[in-house]
C-alpha cells in the first residue's frame, strides 16, 4: 500500500506542485489549504504523515497541529515552513510534531521523513491494538 500523505499550505501552487511530485514517486498525496480543511481531511482518511505549513490564514500551523494531534495522537506531523525559528521548532516539538523542516526542503529528504513517519505510525497503531486487546482480555478475566 502506498504511503498516504496530507500536504497543508495556503500557497495553492506550492502544495499542488509538491503533491504532483510525490504522486510521481508513487505516494498518495492529498492537499488542504488551511487548518480547517486539514482537520476535515484528516478525519476522513488515514494518513501516514501530514506536512504542515506554519503561517496560514485563520488557524495557524501550531493551532492546526494541536487540533490534529488531539483528534489522533498517533498522527505524524512534519512542519515544513519558510518562517522557522528555533523557538517555533521547540514549541512545535513540545506540541507533538515529529519533525521541523525549512523550505525549500529536498524532496528525497522529505520522502525519507514520510517513510519514517509511516514506520512510527504503524508501530504506534500496533501498540494501541495490542493494548486494546490486552484491556479487553483483562476485562473478560482472561
Amino acid at each position: 500500500m502506498a504511503d498516504r500523505v496530507l500536504l497543508v499550505d495556503d500557497e495553492v501552487e506550492f502544495v499542488d506542485a509538491l503533491a504532483e511530485r510525490m504522486r510521481a514517486r508513487g505516494l498518495t498525496a492529498d492537499t488542504a489549504n488551511d487548518g480547517q480543511q486539514a482537520i476535515a481531511r484528516a478525519s476522513q482518511a488515514r494518513y501516514d504523515a501530514v506536512i504542515l505549513d506554519l503561517a496560514m490564514p485563520g488557524m495557524d500551523g501550531l493551532q492546526t497541529l494541536q487540533r490534529l494531534r488531539a483528534d489522533n495522537p498517533n498522527l505524524q506531523i512534519i512542519l515544513l515552513t519558510g518562517q522557522g525559528t528555533v523557538q517555533t521548532a521547540v514549541e512545535a516539538t513540545k506540541l507533538g510534531a515529529m519533525d521541523f523542516l525549512e523550505k525549500p526542503a529536498d524532496i528525497d529528504e522529505l520522502l525519507g521523513k514520510i517513510r519514517q513517519a509511516r514506520a512510527t505510525r504503524l508501530a504506534l497503531d500496533m501498540q494501541k491494538s495490542e493494548q486494546e486487546i490486552s484491556d479487553l482480555l483483562l476485562r473478560r478475566g482472561w
Binding site: 501552487e13 506542485a17 490564514p57 485563520g58 519558510g82 518562517q83 523550505k103
Partner: protein
C-alpha cells in the same frame, strides 16, 4: 513632518517608522520566499519529468507548457512584490514631502495584501473622487492607514469584509476603514487603537473610531491636504 515639530517628536516618528519598516520588510520577504519555494517545486517537477523521459517515458508538451505558465505567473508575482518592496524602501528618502493620495492608496493596498489574506478577509477600496495631495512623511502615513486596516482586522475576527474609503472635505482627507466591530474588544484592539491615535497625532492628523459598540466599526484618519488639486486651493 511639520516644521513645528521638535527633534524629539521627529525621533519618535522615526523610531516608529523604523519598526514599521522592519515589520513590513519581514512580511514581504516571507512572500518572496513563498514564490521562490513554488518556483523551486515547479522546477523540480520539470526535473522529474526530464528524468522520467530518460527512462523512455515521453515528455508531454502540454504538461510542460502548463508548468511554464505557472512559472511565469510566479515570476510576475515576484516582480510585483519586488516593485512594492522597492517603493517601500524609497519611502524613507524624503522625510517631509508632498505625495498624492492615490499613491498612498497604492502603497497601502500592496502592504495590506498579506494581512488581509492571513485574516481571511477582503478589502474593498473606494478611491478618492479627485486627485489630492498630502504633505508629510509618506512612510508614516502608510503606517497609519495600514494600522487602521489592522485595527479593523483585529476587531472583527477572521473572515470578514473591510472597506477602505477616501473622502475629501474642506481641505482635509478622511481615510476610513469600516468592518465588523468586536463584540468584546480585547487588549490587542485597545493597544492598536491607542498606538494608532498617537501616530495620527504625530503625523499632524487625528483618529476617530465609531461606534464604540454596535455591529460596525469605523476607523477614520483625518489629515489636512497639501493641495486639493491643480485648480483648487486648500481651504
Amino acid at each position: 513632518m511639520s516644521p513645528t515639530k521638535t527633534s524629539s517628536d521627529h525621533q519618535l516618528i522615526l523610531e516608529r517608522a523604523l519598526k514599521f519598516l522592519g515589520r513590513q520588510v519581514a512580511r514581504q520577504t516571507h512572500e518572496i520566499t513563498n514564490v521562490i519555494n513554488i518556483i523551486n517545486e515547479l522546477a523540480g517537477l520539470i526535473g522529474d519529468m526530464t528524468a522520467a523521459s530518460r527512462q523512455a517515458k515521453p515528455l508531454d508538451p502540454e504538461r510542460i507548457e502548463g508548468i511554464v505558465e505557472r512559472l511565469q505567473r510566479q515570476i510576475k508575482r515576484e516582480e510585483l512584490i519586488l516593485r512594492g518592496v522597492n517603493r517601500l524602501a524609497h519611502s524613507v528618502d524624503v522625510l517631509s514631502g508632498i505625495f498624492g493620495i492615490e499613491e498612498l492608496n497604492e502603497r497601502v493596498v500592496f502592504l495590506a495584501e498579506r494581512p488581509i489574506r492571513l485574516g481571511q478577509a477582503s478589502l474593498e477600496v473606494e478611491p478618492p473622487e479627485r486627485s489630492a495631495s498630502l504633505e508629510g512623511f509618506v512612510l508614516g502615513h502608510q503606517q497609519a492607514v495600514l494600522g487602521a486596516i489592522e485595527l479593523a482586522l483585529a476587531s472583527g475576527g477572521a473572515g470578514h469584509d473591510l472597506r477602505l474609503r477616501y473622502g475629501l472635505h474642506a481641505g482635509e482627507v478622511e481615510i476610513s476603514v469600516e468592518g465588523p466591530a468586536c463584540a468584546t474588544c480585547n487588549a490587542e484592539v485597545d493597544a492598536l487603537q491607542q498606538a494608532l491615535s498617537a501616530l495620527a497625532t504625530e503625523l499632524g492628523g487625528r483618529l476617530t473610531t465609531s461606534p464604540e459598540t454596535g455591529s460596525t466599526l469605523r476607523v477614520a484618519l483625518v489629515f489636512g491636504l497639501a493641495r486639493a488639486n491643480d485648480s483648487e486651493e486648500v481651504k
